[in-house]
């Protein structure tokens, strides 16, 4: 018995406890908060006059949702589509942040970038496999080319309200909590 006790203690030292999986974030009020802030940025953009333009075309995810088409896709496809879109938005908002001189609008963009990272964390909490699209966005399906900051922010809002929300609502981890 004394030997077993010693072995047990040694195992505790050598094998630290595996990290417990994060608790799934199924409360949609979190996403609603992100959506509200994205809307605030879009409204702020309408009042911007100078120093709020894009110098080049930017790729953004398509936000169109047809429920029948969406339901035909499996969970993995849905997750990859959403994560690709979040990656594209992150790239586009990064370009805006670099070219924007309006302080107020810059604050909104910074906030939006932080919210995108938070959404990725929420997806991880739902045990959704992480997906990183290829570095080059050229030829990616389901993307649009936009030339204005307003279009970027509009796409940002619509993407969060649409596909991101549908993914969270249909997440299997949240369905298990409900049942």
């Amino acid at each position: 018995i004394q030997i077993y006790k010693v072995l047990f203690i040694l195992l505790e030292w050598t094998c630290p406890g595996l990290p417990s999986p994060p608790r799934p974030i199924c409360d949609l009020r979190v996403l609603n908060h992100f959506i509200q802030e994205a809307r605030d940025a879009e409204v702020a953009m309408k009042s911007c006059r100078d120093g709020c333009g894009l110098t080049e075309l930017v790729s953004v995810p398509q936000t169109t949702v047809n429920f029948d088409d969406w339901e035909r896709k499996n969970a993995t496809e849905q997750a990859q589509e959403v994560q690709t879109g979040l990656w594209l938005l992150h790239q586009a908002l990064g370009l805006l942040q670099a070219s924007m001189t309006d302080v107020d609008l810059n604050n909104h963009i910074d906030n939006s970038i932080r919210n995108l990272l938070s959404i990725n964390a929420v997806l991880r909490s739902l045990n959704i496999q992480e997906y990183t699209p290829p570095t080059s966005a050229v030829g990616l399906e389901g993307t649009w080319k936009v030339s204005s900051v307003a279009e970027v922010l509009q796409v940002h809002v619509n993407f969060l309200r649409g596909k991101v929300r549908l993914l969270l609502v249909g997440a299997e981890a949240c369905q298990q909590d409900v049942s």
Binding site: F67, R161, G162
Partner: protein, 528 residues
């Protein structure tokens, strides 16, 4: 195919047709209702609304006179970054001589901008950009149920939300409830739920409940739906709060105890007020009521007056009332200087003087008799109240003057004087000051006058000093004995013979020290 199969197919076809017709009619009715709501709520044209995940309808209104055929109009729509498409139009009648041009789409896309243009003969008449997920107009909640929660003033309202996937948590509800007969009501809001408890309602009151729904506007948005069909429900009747009941009982019990204590501590007072003691003279007139049935004359005949007086003297524990008998002769001698107290003495008037002059002979005899009587009375008085004598003359007691003009009937009285007959007095009254005697001896049985002596000595005294009128009058001062007696104002000489009987009932309770004990009969002239 056999005949039966053929018949079945025909029947199924007919049923389907009927059902389709019914559903078509129902849809048309629903559209008319929603169109009327949007016409009032949406200023832009065309007016568009989404009913679910797939159905999307746009329409605009035109006057029937100005509108052309539907072929003149074109409805085109295009999603962002997509090519445009054309929507086939239909025409529906509207109220007020107008018609609606309607475009209905079964396949829609959300979270993307939709651009709409309406042309009439290549001329754009309407243009609008919108997001489909922001123009929802849902059907009202179904199966609205109102039930009691078991608590006073509460009702439980439940309903079935519109069947929209992905949108349950984005719905908000308004529950409107109003009392019966009240056109306006109150509204409660519920978010992302299908049940609500109404509180603060009146007890035993009938309420009307209606529910409508709308999307919250964060992800999805739109217009308020129509109100559901009203549901009536009555609240529970008011229950008595046990605390209030117990407190009420305790307070009532305490008040009852207080009243009981007050009653017990003052029970004698209340008994006197409610059941006043009626003095009964049975003890003083033994056998008068029980044997002789109240017949005083008979009782007097049968019983001995002296015994009554003696017994009263011997057995009464009361102080005898100071009845002072004044003799005119005595007054003239002994009260030469001090006048008599201003008592209600019945001084003789001129009438008595005339009578005296007429009966001068008999007056002398009467005078001698009166003197004898006076001496006897004085002696009696002194026996009972030593030192009363002249002090009585100066006392403040009530005085009653009595006439010595006794009739022949009074011989019997004189004879029985020694036997101490009950005192019967005729109070002589003057018209003016002395006419207001008030005696409460009781209602005399043969009282013909209206004078009554108050037991509280309410004698009216003459303003002038009392002076003896002349010989032949016996003056008797009667102290305020609290005895009520009736007297008849003697207006004629004939009235002198009348005897005033004692009343059988006493109006007031005679104070012990003032109760009369003398029983002598004296006639008093009425000076009136």
């Amino acid at each position: 195919m056999t005949r039966d199969q053929h018949r079945r197919l025909v029947a199924v076809y007919l049923v389907c047709c009927v059902m389709g017709t019914v559903s078509t009619a129902q849809r048309a009715q629903d559209f008319q209702r929603k169109a009327s709501m949007l016409l009032a709520a949406e200023p832009e044209n065309p007016k568009c609304f989404a009913e679910g995940r797939k159905a999307f309808t746009c329409f605009w209104e035109e006057d029937e006179e100005r509108a052309g055929p539907v072929e003149q109009y074109s409805f085109t729509y295009a999603y962002q970054n997509e090519n445009g498409s054309r929507c086939p139009l239909t025409v529906a009648p509207a109220a007020g001589g107008k018609k609606l041009f309607v475009c209905h789409l079964d396949r829609i896309q959300m979270f993307v901008q939709l651009d709409i243009q309406v042309h009439r003969e290549s001329v754009m008449i309407h243009n609008r950009s919108l997001l489909v997920e922001l123009v929802f107009l849902l059907d009202p909640p179904e199966n609205v149920t109102v039930s009691s929660t078991g608590h006073q003033g509460q009702l439980n309202v439940s309903w079935v939300p519109p069947p929209l996937k992905y949108m349950d948590d984005s719905m908000i509800y308004e529950v409107m409830y109003a009392k019966e007969g009240d056109p306006a009501g109150q509204v409660e809001v519920a978010r992302a739920c299908s049940e609500l408890i109404l509180r603060g309602l009146q007890a035993a009151t009938r309420y009307r409940v209606e529910v409508r729904v709308r999307l919250d506007g964060i992800t999805y948005s739109g217009y308020w739906s129509a109100w559901s069909d009203p549901v009536w429900m009555e609240t529970l009747p008011a229950d008595l709060d046990p605390l209030i009941v117990s407190l009420t009982f305790i307070i009532t019990f305490i008040l009852f105890l207080l009243c009981l204590i007050v009653l017990l501590s003052h029970h004698r007072f209340f008994i006197k007020k409610v059941w006043p003691t009626i003095p009964v003279p049975d003890s003083k007139f033994q056998g008068l009521f029980t044997v002789y049935g109240g017949d005083l004359q008979e009782w007097l005949r049968q019983t001995s007056g002296g015994l009554w007086v003696t017994s009263a003297l011997l057995y009464s524990e009361e102080r005898p009332s100071p009845v002072e008998v004044l003799s005119e002769l005595n007054l003239c001698r002994s009260l030469a200087s001090p006048p008599l107290p201003p008592k209600a003495c019945n001084a003789s008037t001129q009438r008595d003087e005339r009578e005296l002059s007429n009966g001068s002979d008999s007056a002398q005899t009467d005078e001698w008799r009166a003197t004898q009587q006076q001496h006897w009375l004085m002696e009696r008085l002194r026996e009972t109240r030593p030192g009363m004598g002249s002090s009585l003359l100066e006392s403040q007691d009530t005085y009653v003057t009595l006439s010595t003009n006794n009739h022949s009937e009074e011989d019997h009285v004189d004879d029985t004087l020694e036997e101490a007959l009950p005192l019967e007095m005729h109070v002589a009254s003057r018209k003016t000051p002395l006419s207001e005697f008030h005696s409460d001896l009781g209602s005399g049985q043969q009282s013909s006058g209206s004078g009554r002596l108050s037991s509280q000595s309410s004698f009216e005294y003459p303003s002038q000093g009392w002076t003896p009128k002349g010989p032949g009058y016996t003056y008797m001062a009667v102290a305020d004995s609290g005895v009520s007696m009736d007297y008849s104002p003697m207006s004629r000489v004939d009235d002198l013979g009348k005897v005033a009987l004692y009343a059988n009932e006493y109006k007031n309770e005679i104070p012990p020290h003032r109760r009369p004990f003398l029983t002598r009969q004296y006639h008093v002239h009425d000076d009136g």
